[in-house]
């Protein structure tokens, strides 16, 4: 999981925004709309990043509906230290 986090968050073009998303849903689970508003990003961009983060089991979705909220996955929370190390570098 650590290698996945490092790659998805610091090896790709969208890494920085994915870090912002992850930090935000860790504070409080949110749906894609709320994330778009909070982070001032396009809804489609948020959707795309959420899909990548879900693909890699970094975030999980709670509920199946349109308004489902996202939160860090269990595997991600188990490796939260790594996420914090990465978050610290952009602050």
């Amino acid at each position: 999981m650590e290698a996945v986090l490092w790659y998805v968050l610091t090896g790709t073009r969208g890494g920085e925004n994915r870090v912002r998303i992850l930090k935000t849903v860790e504070e409080q689970p949110r749906n894609a709309n709320q994330l778009a508003e909070t982070l001032d990003l396009d809804y489609k961009t948020i959707r795309h990043h959420l899909d990548v983060l879900m693909d890699n089991d970094v975030v999980q979705r709670s509920g199946d509906d349109y308004g489902a909220v996202y939160l860090p996955s269990q595997r991600c929370r188990a490796n939260w230290e790594t996420v914090e190390t990465i978050v610290d570098r952009i602050d």
């Binding site: 490092w6 790659y7 968050l9 610091t10 090896g11 790709t12 073009r13 969208g14 890494g15 920085e16 990548v52 990465i86 570098r89 952009i90």
Partner: protein, 101 residues
């Protein structure tokens, strides 16, 4: 013989362009995150870029070598060199796909 030469030249050119784009992404991420992962990818990208830029230079730009490569190199050699570059182009296309994502 010219088809192998052309494919090798074109794919080494494509490799240069793709590696420039990838290295730019990794360099930007290194500046943001200062992580060894980003710098590792960047070093990989820069050296593979150097390899392809050198090949491109030898095939097309160097006044002596480009003439030699286009007239004196046997077909079998060109076929294999073409394969090396094309394999690399395919590999880089996938790497670009997951990195630009």
């Amino acid at each position: 013989m010219s088809i192998w030469v052309d494919v090798a030249k074109v794919s080494s050119g494509i490799n240069v362009v793709v590696l420039l784009a990838l290295s730019a992404i990794w360099a930007r991420n290194y500046l943001t995150f200062r992580s060894k992962h980003a710098v590792g990818l960047l070093v990989f990208g820069v050296f593979l870029l150097a390899e392809n830029a050198l090949a491109f230079y030898m095939y097309l730009l160097d006044p002596t070598l480009s003439g030699w490569f286009s007239t004196k190199v046997p077909v079998i050699v060109w076929r294999l060199m073409m394969l090396l570059h094309v394999f690399e182009t395919i590999g880089l296309a996938f790497l670009a796909w997951v990195t630009v994502d």
